[in-house]
């Protein structure tokens, strides 16, 4: 902790979990999509679903989808700005069993036809936890550069990927593997200290074991 954690952060009100956290959830979705969004379908659960209008959570989520930071005064008018930019935004209530009360699922469609689905929760103080990406269970906070690697579950896959990382001088801060079933599709969630060289992502994508490799830059 330092003095700027107490006198700070500079933020848009009214509360860190309903604004700053929601902006961050939107930003992760935007970064995952990687192109200009034209459609945003936002599903809300629990407390988020009950209270999003009064808290401005809807505006904060959409602001994040447009790439705004959590101290950007345009958050207040983000719904109008999205309309001007031709982004079709919809909100609906849903139930996700066992999900944190402040959970949102964001499905984005891009101008080039790409799709990205992010599920995550605003867990307090502006911090978030992403729990699913494109339907696969994950667990990361967005505080670090995070690499998601979708691959075939077979011996040596992790070694090959981490070998390339070591070769690029990248230090792994956190590593998590999830898989649907033995021998099926598996997902590595790798949080990185510091930067990620661009050629590393290209190299990972070129590996025969790897189906998809996504970099979500630190928020």
């Amino acid at each position: 902790m330092n003095v700027f954690d107490i006198i700070g952060p500079i933020m848009i009100g009214p509360s860190s979990s309903h604004t700053a956290g929601a902006v961050r959830l939107g930003r992760v979705a935007s970064k995952l999509l990687g192109e200009r969004p034209v459609k945003a379908e936002i599903e809300l659960t629990g407390s988020f679903a009950q209270t999003y209008r009064g808290h401005g959570t809807d505006k904060a989520l959409v602001a994040g989808i447009m790439g705004f930071d959590s101290d950007d005064e345009r958050i207040r008018s983000s719904l109008e700005l999205a309309r001007e930019k031709g982004i079709a935004v919809s909100f609906s209530e849903t139930t996700i069993p066992g999900a944190h009360p402040n959970t949102a699922r964001i499905t984005l469609t891009g101008a080039g036809g790409r799709r990205a689905v992010v599920r995550g929760a605003s867990v307090g103080g502006g911090s978030i936890l992403i729990t699913a990406v494109n339907g696969m269970g994950v667990s990361f906070t967005g505080q670090y550069n995070t690499i998601l690697v979708l691959h075939q579950d077979k011996p040596g896959a992790i070694a090959v990927v981490t070998h390339f990382m070591a070769h690029s001088g990248v230090n792994i801060g956190n590593f998590r593997l999830s898989r649907e079933r033995r021998g099926g599709e598996a997902l590595m969630t790798i949080e990185i200290d510091g930067g990620v060289p661009e050629e590393l992502m290209d190299r990972l994508r070129a590996l025969p074991e790897v189906q998809q490799a996504i970099l979500i830059p630190a928020l």
Partner: protein
């Protein structure tokens, strides 16, 4: 280096070196964050800028919160300050500044969490008021925020600055103690007097529950920021008059933690009791969010 677990340690260090608390904290943070004093001063100065902008934005009589429940009251208080009211123009303008920042927060304006968004009006209402009214220099005002920050760090580490954990005493109470310590320094008081002021401020917020109507950071949060300013001034005036806190600041922080832990969950930001559960509180909730299924 400070571990920010004791107000007493920080006071002793400042006294031993014959400097203000803010200077000791600036030196320490410069070392801990590996950044120059000038860089840290500039970062803090930018935060003071945002506080001042939030005051201006919040004084707009047309301002309304996202829920529509609050807004425009800071302008009313400011208008009354012209006559001097009962407590003088300075006091009324200070309270209006706190209210303005807090209303701006509810209207999705930009603020500095100090230490939280719910308590963001108290430092602007106090420190930025002394600056706006020519009672200190800009440099002194920026520096005093380091003193405020140091007291906040101790409270955050030894107790809590989260309403969900410790009730409103943890948010407005912490802000109030931070502001009282900064005010004493700005008026030329000693480190010891800053600690006494913080202790007296905390004592007067002890037990304050977090019971927001509809769970929104509006009712009663905005008005508690105004009251926090008056308590901070009262505590600072007592300390500057040479009045000591019979209970040392660190022990007040310990007491605050114990009281916070003893509060039922219904009075810690869950909007299940207190003002939130009054008939009017429930009606306002329905007005904003509709009837609960």
């Amino acid at each position: 280096m400070f571990n920010y677990e004791s107000i007493e340690d920080i006071c002793r260090e400042a006294e031993a070196r014959g400097i203000r608390i803010s200077e000791a904290v600036l030196d320490d943070q410069s070392e801990q964050l590996e950044k120059s004093r000038e860089e840290l001063f500039a970062l803090m100065s930018a935060r003071l800028d945002v506080m001042e902008q939030a005051v201006s934005a919040g004084l707009d009589p047309e301002l309304r919160s996202t829920s529509g429940l609050t807004g425009g009251d800071a302008a009313r208080l400011w208008a009354r300050s012209g006559s001097g009211g009962m407590t003088g123009g300075f006091m009324l303008r200070s309270m209006a500044r706190a209210m303005a920042v807090s209303e701006n927060n509810a209207a999705m304006g930009r603020i500095v969490a100090a230490p939280t968004a719910g308590s963001c009006g108290i430092l602007p209402g106090t420190v930025a008021s002394l600056l706006a009214e020519g009672r200190c220099t800009r440099e002194q005002a920026v520096l005093s925020l380091f003193t405020a920050g140091a007291f906040g760090m101790v409270i955050a580490q030894k107790a809590s600055i989260s309403g969900a954990e410790g009730g409103c005493q943890a948010e407005c109470g912490a802000a109030c103690a931070m502001a009282a310590a900064a005010l004493v320094e700005l008026m030329g008081g000693s480190p010891r007097q800053s600690a006494d002021a913080a202790a007296m401020a905390l004592k007067n917020q002890l037990g304050l529950v977090c019971d927001p109507v509809a769970g929104l950071v509006e009712i009663p949060c905005i008005k508690r920021n105004v009251a926090g300013v008056s308590i901070a001034f009262a505590a600072a005036e007592m300390a500057l008059a040479g009045i000591e806190s019979r209970i040392p600041a660190d022990e007040c922080v310990d007491a605050m933690r114990e009281v916070g832990e003893a509060l039922p969950a219904s009075l810690r930001e869950t909007a299940k009791a207190g003002l939130a559960a009054t008939p009017t509180g429930k009606r306002l909730r329905e007005q904003v969010f509709g009837r609960e299924e």
